[in-house]
């Protein structure tokens, strides 16, 4: 067997590769997708156009892109803080649902009263709801050393059941012909629309604000520094005297709060009532967003836009090309897959051997 190339460890991690790797992953994904499309009998160039260009060639399309990117960016920023500290919150989807229910529940409780305080209160309740749901894995981890990956993931399904119970039972719209949906929110429970005739709402600015806050926290604040140290060298953090448990609580509460905020923004911005399916898996997709964005708030911003585009592209491929909805999932999966593969290049590089190694094998 003759290997044409082998992987060789780099003397220092490549900073350039940290940023190039997502780009390589995107290129490989598009390339593979084109092969997939042509195997399915669709002109690959047309398919890519339908998938990536068509959805954002109108104001409405761009507005929709931002609407879809809002929860991804919000959750992605929160998760990336945790991932940096080696705290693996996989249950953002559940925290999003509980956050949405907390904020949405408030809207339903005051469905007959209009007030300018309702909306801010809903946002706060959304954050608290998400924090509460993330506090459970935080407590279990710091107290009983359970694995937060499992607990947070499992709580997602509990959250879905809570949602299902509420809209099939107590929160079902009494005038809704027995559909499992809540009442429609009234005007003062809805986020203001930024551009008429679109769904683009104030939530977008909230997401931008969170990106900015996250950026400051990570690059300037001592908490961000402690998070980085814990994730990169836990022993050094203990040498410095950083309290690891405190950081576990903090990162889980922040990421849970962000997810809850995303949930309530989704309800009061894009949907307008509580429905059985609040999120098409934003909480899980945001994990990819966080990694694609290199666990940095600004990176997460761009990665969120890209992933939002895969949702829109999936819809548009369904309509124009008769593709199944699974195309979106395939895209997202490929992107993560190629990203993880190209991340190897951060610490390793290819070494091509021009000639076979001269080895004199005896026996």
């Amino acid at each position: 067997m003759l290997a044409l190339f082998k992987l060789e460890r780099r003397p220092e991690t490549s900073r350039a590769m940290v940023y190039c790797s997502p780009l390589i992953a995107v290129v490989l994904t598009v390339f593979t997708a084109m092969i997939m499309f042509s195997l399915l009998g669709v002109d690959p160039v047309k398919a890519i156009t339908v998938f990536f260009i068509e959805p954002i060639s109108s104001v409405d399309g761009i507005a929709e892109l931002c609407v879809k990117a809002t929860p991804l960016i919000l959750i992605g920023v929160g998760l990336s803080l945790g991932f940096k500290a080696d705290v693996w919150n996989i249950g953002a989807e559940g925290q999003l649902i509980i956050g949405a229910l907390s904020g949405g529940g408030l809207a339903l409780a005051f469905y007959d009263q209009e007030s300018i305080f309702l909306l801010p209160a809903m946002l706060v309740f959304g954050i608290l709801g998400g924090m509460f749901w993330a506090a459970i894995p935080a407590f279990l981890k710091t107290r009983y050393n359970t694995n937060e990956i499992l607990t947070s993931l499992m709580l997602t399904y509990v959250g879905l059941l809570v949602l299902s119970y509420l809209i099939h039972g107590p929160w079902k719209d009494p005038d809704g012909q027995n559909f499992p949906e809540s009442r429609l929110f009234h005007e003062s429970a809805l986020l203001p629309i930024l551009i008429d005739e679109t769904r683009l709402n104030l939530g977008w600015f909230v997401a931008l604000l969170v990106v900015a806050l996250g950026w400051v926290l990570v690059s300037r604040h001592v908490i961000g520094f402690q998070i980085k140290v814990v994730g990169m060298a836990a022993m050094a953090a203990s040498f410095a005297g950083f309290k690891e448990k405190k950081l576990v609580w903090l990162t889980l509460l922040v990421s849970g709060g962000c997810a809850g905020l995303a949930g309530v923004i989704e309800l009061s911005g894009a949907i307008g009532q509580i429905v059985p399916s609040i999120s098409p898996g934003y909480g899980f997709t945001a994990i990819i967003v966080a990694f694609l964005g290199r666990l940095h708030p600004v990176g997460v911003f761009f990665a969120g836009l890209l992933m939002a585009l895969t949702y829109l592209g999936g819809d548009s491929a369904q309509i124009s090309l008769n593709m199944p909805n699974a195309v979106t999932g395939v895209f997202q999966g490929m992107l993560l897959f190629f990203l993880l593969a190209s991340d190897v290049l951060i610490r390793y590089r290819f070494k091509f051997s021009q000639s076979p190694p001269m080895s004199e094998r005896q026996q």
């Binding site: 003397p11 220092e12 991690t13 300037r220 604040h221 001592v222 908490i223 520094f225 980085k228 140290v229 990169m232 060298a233 022993m235 050094a236 203990s238 040498f239 410095a240 005297g241 309290k243 190694p357 001269m358 080895s359 004199e360 094998r361 005896q362 026996q363």
Partner: protein, 510 residues
């Protein structure tokens, strides 16, 4: 001599990005010769032996084994040719027996049938007693090393490479190892002995090849040299010893440890048992001991990474600190230098100025209202780099871009520049080249001169004798009563070290 050399490497060149690790290196080892490969850290010794052992290829050059030019493609090829190597870090499974461990790393055919008997035979023949049925975790470090040696000997090697073999041994264990090596040598086995301990090389080796910065700079017969002359060849400069001014007042108790007992938080760790120790201000107190006898646990309770139940078990000055975390202890003037530089004392992938924040953030006011003062932190880091002559391309470079010695100078500098009243340093010059070691020791002595209490935990007896006022020995979690350095001998320390160490638990090599 008509005999052809056993091993000859000719004009070996190997470069890594940015460094030429080996530059036209020539080395000749004769049959039955104990040949020292001597050099500071980073001189290129490891690169050379890894090439000989088939771990990596060289860019240029050739290798002649018993008169035949060939290319060693991998370690198993090397073993088949009759080259054995004992690494500095053992690769043994604690939960397995000696026999199982040996069986794992050996070609059965080559070892020849009935393994347990062969092990007994070989170990008895070379004075390396080993019971094949013992579990590795019950063995001392010296015994573990014997496993590695026996594993090599079972394959009847013609050349045995030993990488810093004595760094984990007591003086008595070192003597035993030397006996074995001399026995092997008289039986015609060649030994390539890598070390920077000059005394040992003088006592053991027939010939020496000295390397500096990737090149062979000298060849000599160690018996004809003094350790000083070899050190100078190794470093290419004159060696100075640290200077100690004599008149220092040592009165106030700076660190007071009373009846300290702590269970280890590590797997196979060592519990600390009833430790009592007083370190005076202005004094350098040393704790000698073989790795794995409780040093790690001792540092953890002193630094506050592990808290003890009773605050007054550990007192800094008048303050009982047993329940205080590391940050609070630093605030009252303590500083710590852990043994492991990368990963404990510094974050490998972070820049130098960020690493300064680990221990100097609150004290030097590099953090204000929770926000990091970038400029102040970088300026402060430049001060450390300048004052302690850390060789780096800048304070934004990652900690792991520094050589071991420079990183250690940086870490020690980071602590000393804060003018602590008490400093606890573990292995302050471990793996550091001689030039850097002198400057680190001098810095610690100067710190004691300002009235600070200095506690050094180290395995390097030469170092301890050179700089400390009093020495005590940690063994299996117990601490001997400290005695003035002048009244102690290496042999006495060796006995104290070995007392509980033989067959004691928790003597883990790493």
């Amino acid at each position: 001599m008509a005999q052809s050399p056993r091993l000859q490497v000719v004009d070996i060149t190997k470069s890594y990005p940015g460094v030429v690790a080996n530059d036209k290196v020539n080395l000749t080892v004769n049959p039955g010769e104990i040949h020292a490969l001597l050099g500071e850290n980073g001189a290129g010794k490891s690169t050379l032996v890894k090439y000989i052992y088939g771990v990596h290829e060289a860019d240029e050059g050739r290798l002649v084994w018993e008169g035949k030019e060939l290319q060693i493609s991998n370690p198993s090829h090397a073993r088949k040719l009759g080259i054995g190597m004992v690494f500095q870090h053992f690769s043994l499974f604690d939960a397995m027996t000696v026999e199982q461990n040996i069986a794992l790393g050996i070609d059965r055919k080559q070892a020849g049938g009935d393994l347990p008997n062969r092990i007994r035979e070989v170990s008895a023949h070379h004075g390396l007693f080993l019971d094949p049925s013992r579990y590795v975790h019950t063995l001392s470090v010296g015994e573990r090393q014997r496993i590695e040696v026996v594993r090599c000997l079972l394959q009847n090697p013609q050349l045995l490479i030993m990488d810093e073999p004595t760094s984990v041994l007591t003086p008595q264990e070192v003597e035993n190892l030397f006996k074995t090596l001399r026995l092997l040598s008289s039986a015609g086995v060649s030994i390539l002995y890598i070390s920077h301990k000059l005394q040992e090389i003088k006592a053991l080796c027939h010939a020496a090849t000295i390397m500096r910065r990737g090149k062979v700079v000298a060849r000599c017969k160690p018996e004809e040299q003094t350790t000083k002359s070899m050190a100078e060849m190794m470093m290419g400069q004159n060696v100075s010893s640290p200077v100690r001014s004599s008149a220092q007042t040592k009165s106030r108790v700076s660190l007071d440890i009373v009846d300290l007992s702590v269970s280890s938080t590590h797997q196979q760790g060592t519990d600390l048992k009833n430790i009592n120790l007083q370190v005076l201000s202005g004094e350098i107190m040393s704790v000698a001991g073989i790795a794995g006898n409780g040093q790690r646990e001792f540092l953890e309770v002193l630094s506050g990474e592990v808290l003890v139940d009773d605050p007054s078990m550990i007192r800094f000055g008048d303050i009982g600190v047993g329940r205080m975390g590391p940050m609070d202890r630093r605030k009252i003037g303590a500083a710590f230098v852990p043994e492991e530089r990368l990963g404990h004392g510094a974050v490998p992938d972070m820049s130098l100025w960020e690493n300064v924040l680990l221990s100097a953030g609150p004290q030097i006011k590099l953090v204000k209202n929770g926000f990091i003062r970038l400029r102040a932190a970088q300026k402060f880091t430049e001060e450390i780099v300048g004052k302690f002559r850390v060789v780096t391309q800048g304070v934004r470079r990652a900690a792991n871009s520094l050589s071991g010695g420079n990183l250690q100078k940086f870490i020690i500098g980071r602590e000393i520049i804060q003018k602590p009243r008490l400093i606890v340093a573990v292995q302050p010059t471990w793996g550091v080249d001689a030039g850097a070691a002198v400057s680190i020791r001098q810095a610690l002595i100067d710190l004691a001169g300002t009235g600070a209490a200095v506690l050094i935990v180290s395995q390097d007896l030469e170092e301890l004798f050179e700089i400390s006022d009093r020495i005590c020995v940690i063994s299996n979690g117990c601490l001997s009563a400290p005695r003035p350095t002048a009244s102690m001998t290496v042999q006495e320390i060796g006995l104290l070290m070995g007392e509980a160490g033989l067959g004691g638990k928790g003597a883990s090599p790493i």
